[in-house]
Symmetry: C2
Subunit: 349 residues, 2 copies
Amino acid sequence: MVNTHDHTEPPRKRKRVTIADIAQRAGVTSGAVSLAVNGKPGVSDATRARILDVARELRWRPSHAAQTLMGKNSEAVGLVLARPAEVIGEEIFFSKFIAGVQSTLSGRGYSLMLQMAEDATAECAIHQSWILDGRVDGVLVLDPRIDDPRVEALASLDHPTVVVGGETDHGSVRSVRVDNAGAMRLIMDHLHGLGHDRVAYITGDQAFRHISERMDAFAQFCVDQGVWGQTLAGNFDPARAREATARLAGAPHPPTAIVYDSEVMTIAGMSTLASLGLRVPGDVSVLSWEDSTTCQVLHPTITALSRDAVSLGRTAAAEILQLIAGKPVEQGTVESRVVHRESTSAPES
Amino acid sequence: MVNTHDHTEPPRKRKRVTIADIAQRAGVTSGAVSLAVNGKPGVSDATRARILDVARELRWRPSHAAQTLMGKNSEAVGLVLARPAEVIGEEIFFSKFIAGVQSTLSGRGYSLMLQMAEDATAECAIHQSWILDGRVDGVLVLDPRIDDPRVEALASLDHPTVVVGGETDHGSVRSVRVDNAGAMRLIMDHLHGLGHDRVAYITGDQAFRHISERMDAFAQFCVDQGVWGQTLAGNFDPARAREATARLAGAPHPPTAIVYDSEVMTIAGMSTLASLGLRVPGDVSVLSWEDSTTCQVLHPTITALSRDAVSLGRTAAAEILQLIAGKPVEQGTVESRVVHRESTSAPES
DNA sequence: CTGAAAGCGCTTACAG
DNA sequence: CTGAAAGCGCTTACAG
């Protein structure tokens, strides 16, 4: 018996539906289909309706690759994280920021391209290849360092770029202004207002521009207001925050308040104080430069600077979207405020 | 005076360097260039060397769009998060998982496409468009729900898919096995071993498969070992965890140990206990199903199930990469262990 | 309003 | 080993 199936096509991947298929079925040319599906003038309403019907029926979807080849936007924004996986996994800031970026992007149908890099050089290389490949329409740069090479490199590519936490407006580069100095003044006003005049500040990595801005503002405030201010340079490492805290607590004349640069550092510091038998806020007030659920539920609850990383992300996303669309950028400002909770009070002595 | 600049070209975007440019400059055809730069046979070593030199000199980079149009892989993996931005910003699991995925992906030059979605239906739509657009080579699905529609939908697309936290191997769909039942047994062994026989479990959202697996294992253990076990269904909301904790604490015969399904819930519960004047672990032991720096630095430090979300992410990424490469998938298992800290001890009574 | 054609930047048979 | 050509799926002038 002859196998009549010998001549059937091999079961190759079901072929993609193209505008040519639609054109054939609708009895027009592929050019007409292109105009119709893109809502451009050049086809009659009747023809357009017929073409759209066929497209729907065939479940056609435009080929993203072909469209990009013709110069269409990729509808994606790039973000490279140049920090170790462990830090990104711990610091609540990153997930909040990304969540904020996402919520704005998703609303407009944009995706986020995310990658991690060893250092700023690798980060640049990734941004560059994404941009040259047309895989992203713009990129977001986080936490510029002092004399950051990335800003320069990206400016020379002349593509939409938004820097978060630096004041670099430069060619096609815009930035989300984060008023670190102002936020530090809010913090110091809060503590000074409560009556503290011996304040310590345990910092993150001062190679970052935002950290150095905070340090400057701290020093400035102390000088202006006659507050005894002690800065202990850290690097976001909780172990180091613990040491610094212990050193301060053991000093002959310890501070009455301590400010920490991150949530993780704050928690580490508080537990150190507790283990040394010091009461918060009775013996020393504590303030965190990052708010979180943990700050709200810990005992005592922690007074924190709420700069709202989620809306920082939203703002950055909104700016890059405007830049991509070629609209004038409404430079967003992210508000910070001090949320007063149990961990700060007037000094007892 | 005649403006000699009238005839200069407008300063349009500097044109892309293509293989045609290389071909012309090297005196060959573009076909030859393609073979040369892709390391394929068909050109002599001398020609190849010359072509590569020119390509380097012209700083040529292949057009990603043109390559995908010809069927090349996109070198990106997709992940859609179907949870509210607030939850993603708070739960440490997500950032750890993403960090883990990234660290494996980046090592192989892959990027992550990330997007947030309202619900599972929207998530499916995004995955589908990414896959059909050829923007991703495979997708990762997190936390399958009971009777999850996503798995079925993705299986029908016949593209590499890895489900994290479900046991669904099905067509082109693989899964990272997370032994929730076994982990719950570890937890209960720990508590039972300390002498607890009245244990409460405050859960996350039981619509998730992984939560329901944990609940089943909890009930099973209690029945088998004669432990009085009380499950209070929650939904990851710290406020709800707080209520549940207060209710338990106020019961006529309260539990001697409480297990929480997430870090945020645990912290909320601990602070509730503290505000009710109950000591941890003196009056009640506390155990968290998610480990973090916070668990390590809180006072008391929190006994936690360390399932290592970072390596879960790494494993998932490794599997999807194998699936994409068409290699047999070595199904990874993520180990869990109970890290014993201060918040659990033998019951005092 | 509609059709026929060129082109985006690459890859891949097919001849020489 | 090398050249000339077709094709991937779209968009966009350019004629009718």
